[in-house]
Symmetry: D2
Subunit: 364 residues, 4 copies
């Protein structure tokens, strides 16, 4: 209701000049519906864009009302250039099907496995173990970021083939990172979920190529990305015809250096309130050390996450990468057991959140 009762000259756009706002807010959005502004009824982008151009000089903003509904409206406005990512009357919770598993549905989904695919033995042992312990998806990196010339860079195609064999053995679908748009077809042939890494969250070419593969996409938040940036990248995947996007919070870079990253748990809470996409947490990268992983996993469950992405290895101290943050089998078993009562409490939270979503509909 808010914006639309008034006519156009009374300004319903927000056009943030870069000098005033954070880099995360530099893009322009225009939230008014076309018909309410005298545009055509199609609701297509060009019409909205024309309106934006026409109203460019009318710089004014109706700020949201105080109170619960108002705040939600402010988020609708803040994230309004990612409209399809946001909850609405037309979009129910997205449930991403992966073989015979579902992400974003009623079950809490744990994805576990080594940082890097090292050997077939390692991968199969891990797949079998985490499957027995309750994991639903097997992770493993065949391509690694070349952040140092001295670091292991992955087995590439051979690694993908090992993942495929581990899938046969364990029965778990596999998730693996794709780092180059040229590799997308090859990786998509083997993987059940394509992971976009934190350094590539704004690699738009890769996002588009991955989207067009048709495979579900797990999008990791950039270590320096605002939630606005994060949702914009998700929107780009949706824009390219792929609805199966899973958002993954894995910690952000801040001034605090005691842990590897700062785990932004409130982002999970907020994303669950505003978006219909599944949200999972990566406590391994957030913590950077294995002692903190189980507690952050517990926290993620309490925050309402739909699942976890956790690093597990038969012998963590010998892992070729991320050794310090990787759980042993025994540690993983302990963590899974300790999460159980928190997972059991999830439905109550979900019901409460559904109520919130409904309340939001009333406004939005």
């Amino acid at each position: 209701m808010p914006l639309l009762a008034i006519d156009l000259r009374r300004l319903h756009c927000r056009d943030s000049p870069p000098s005033q706002v954070h880099p995360s807010q530099t893009s322009v959005y225009f939230a008014a519906k076309n018909e309410e502004l005298g545009g055509d009824k199609s609701g297509s982008f060009p019409s909205i864009i024309r309106m934006r151009l026409r109203t460019r000089r009318r710089r004014s903003l109706i700020l949201p009302q105080n109170g619960a509904n108002g705040v939600r409206q402010s988020w609708h406005e803040r994230f309004c250039d990612s409209p399809d990512v946001l909850k609405s009357a037309r979009r129910g919770q997205t449930v991403v099907p992966v073989l015979d598993t579902e992400i974003g549905g009623s079950e809490f989904i744990t994805m576990a496995g080594p940082c890097s695919v090292e050997t077939e033995f390692q991968l199969i042992a891990t797949g079998n173990h985490v499957s027995r312990a309750g994991a639903r998806i097997l992770r493993g990196g065949a391509f690694k970021p070349r952040s140092s010339p001295y670091a292991f860079q992955g087995h590439g195609l051979a690694g993908l083939q090992m993942l495929a064999r581990a899938r046969e053995e364990s029965g778990l679908p596999i998730i693996t990172e794709v780092m180059s748009e040229c590799d997308v077809p090859m990786v998509a042939e083997y993987a059940d979920i394509l992971q976009i890494g934190t350094r590539n969250m704004e690699n738009y070419s890769l996002l588009e190529a991955a989207a067009r593969s048709g495979k579900p996409i797990l999008l990791k938040r950039g270590m320096m990305a605002t939630i606005t940036d994060f949702l914009r990248s998700a929107q780009l995947i949706l824009d390219n015809g792929n609805p199966n996007v899973i958002l993954c919070e894995r910690g952000i870079r801040t001034f605090e250096t005691a842990m590897r990253n700062t785990f932004d748990v409130a982002a999970i809470v907020l994303l669950k309130q505003i978006s219909h996409l599944p949200v999972i947490a990566d406590p391994s990268h957030a913590a950077g050390c294995r002692e903190l992983v189980p507690a952050l996993a517990r926290v993620a469950v309490a925050a309402g996450a739909d699942g976890l992405l956790v690093e597990v290895h038969p012998n963590p101290d010998k892992a070729w990468s991320d050794a310090d943050q990787t759980l042993s089998f025994a540690e993983f078993d302990d963590m899974m057991a300790s999460l159980d009562p928190y997972i059991t409490l999830r439905p109550r939270v979900a019901i409460r959140e559904m109520a919130s979503a409904n309340a939001m509909e009333a406004v939005g």
Copy 2:
């Protein structure tokens, strides 16, 4: 030569030159035990300091071993200039007595009340209500940060007197902020806990004056303070003879602006692992908006916090400060009810953490 003048296997010093390290690491510490270095056996600070001076040019560092114990050792080293704040064989969990309540013990303690003390009616109504809903301590600000000349700055002494009357009515102990070292005696006469605000976390004169009042101190983390900085300020209070320090995580300032602050939940997890001091969470300031407060409170319970500090007001939209992040009575009741099952799960977590602490003893 340096390292080798003393027994290498026993040396555990870190001497970080400021040019090399983050501001959070600028102070020098020397963790080696005196006896291992030929110093006297008293273990008193002067002896350690002499050693530090003598060994100043011997810049060398044994990095921690991989693995669970090693990481814990690395935290002992990282926070080693706050030695009395850390867990050790000699120091059990600190339990802070406040009238007939205890913070840091087996009970989860909720502190609730308005941001600002406005009227006696407001305060007594709030005290009575939150007490019935399960809060154990009443909060309210008589002195407010003068961050803007146009903002309400508090009733001062009159506010303290209203707090005292609300204590009589509700039976709840009161916590209130002290902002000036000159006000410490007056505030200490009325308050049961002195709160040090985020902007004063490194106001060393105020910390010392508050410490010497003998009252329990709730120390809020600075909005851009590292955990190292935070523990150093706690250490200063201990150094001034006051053992009753409660640490409070309230969110840090980062590049993310979707919420008022970035709630650093991993800091709670880490503080509970390394320190014997009670740790509480302030979800109101972390979130900055009321919709997210209950979820962040739930997350804090799961993280192992000993309690909460929450803003509640009979009519939040009319609150004189922090209106957007303040809960109504009904919202507070809902939150308390929703926290119950999570609070019930706490003992299991506590037992697991006790095991961790014991493991750490073995190393430290």
Copy 3:
């Protein structure tokens, strides 16, 4: 409706709900002139506050026009709760008199000396040397932040007396930090400029006490303070009747750890454009290592700073604090010589900036 109840051309309010904005922007301001809103004509604060309350529900914002003038207007709005700190038709450049020296006038002023006052000999030797090399003010800390219990905490009163003797010997006015509101009278008796340290930038009690001493105040930017926060603290000093405020940029805390702080040179540029207060730079704390100090000093001159605050010591490697960032006498001499041609270019810059200021008047 909001916006339209009043004359759009006259409304210049910003009311930022905390849920929407950065923590730096949580306070509410209302810049509209009283008469334009039907309030009384007195223009006193209470009247503005009443208006703010009355108009609280009218949440609306006129965004600035594009282009040069518009951007300046946006800054006027952004920093509008520190109105007396901003340039305006009524306020010329503030020139702070300190004995027979002036800060903010045509001369570029270098303040130099040791981090800590150690011995009378050290101080007098430094004072005499830096005076010959062109410094106009002698710095030295008699009270030091107690950031670590093992660090030197200053000589206190004895240090102030050494400073006074060094002033006699060298003829240079002295600047020294005051850390406690209780110490203000004592420090003000000896010092010619009171320095407020970075950790105390939001210690409002100390700011008020220092302001009321009548001495010029050098206000260091908090390591985590936005420019908005910084100007608000300056405004508080002006509000307490002390016009002689010198702003000091000394680097901020960010994710980058290669240097001690991140030198925010654009803040100097911006402050010179928007404020009439003198602005100086502290390249020593910004860099954290002596090799970078001369280059950052050069950069500060080019940015339009009115002066420098630099750490110099007869024997930097033996300095009791900040050794790594302190210049030797020879290094200081070299730096001063290298700055000369850049200082010579200042008047041209000043003339250009005067033009900017005039242009701004036309808008503001």
Copy 4:
């Protein structure tokens, strides 16, 4: 000498476990000379890498000595996994040839032009104008980041062809951004310098593809990349056989939102001290508003930058992107004139820096 006088059982590596250190420091480096560790004398990487693997479990670190030389050594250590990027006895200043221009040589090089290539007329007018005003290279974006679905995304190939025609008309070499590894061959056919944007600084596939094109690469610092990260990406380009890398500081993302980014001028100073690669500044993106651009350009010259990258447009208010930070022709002319005296002072700075480099050789 430091490291090597002692037999530390030959442990002179630093192996930072992620749990302990900032994300910027996660990679392993090995600074010890081969011969001192019993390796072969060639000093080639493979030998160092073998040693690193052998000593992996021996975690120990000799910290640098105090003092000027020591600090430099500490930088050598800090950035040691980017060894070819650092100054050394064998590597003189890199001068990147671009048609008949040189970047990193004695001349200060200004690259100017519109953010986006819009029309041939726009581009040719701009090219001719900035050439007359002293620019040496023409910039213009044919591909734009798709950060919003509503924003202009560039003309692609048609834009490249317009750039080629503008090069013919103006005689200026052209620089343009490449955003996809698949586009590299096409862009390399037209451009004289390939620009890697801030969002792609860690897109390793793109870096490798661009490197192998053989064209000079301008590498923009990621908006939240540490200097360590930045140099690592430069190293990756060198590792792929392309020596012609130009580093570009364009501001980083911090908590300060008054300007679009925080211009990290000290990074320019530091990069000029430690690296032989040319360093240029982008004051347009750093400032985000045109009023501050000339001052930041002046500051960059004083910091020792080798050139500038500046946005200029015939009619900035009508620019299709980055309007607020783009200079008009008249503003560009004024800026160039105002920079002249500062550029004239550069040789003195260069000589001083050469001395520093020599001093560093003595240590490294």
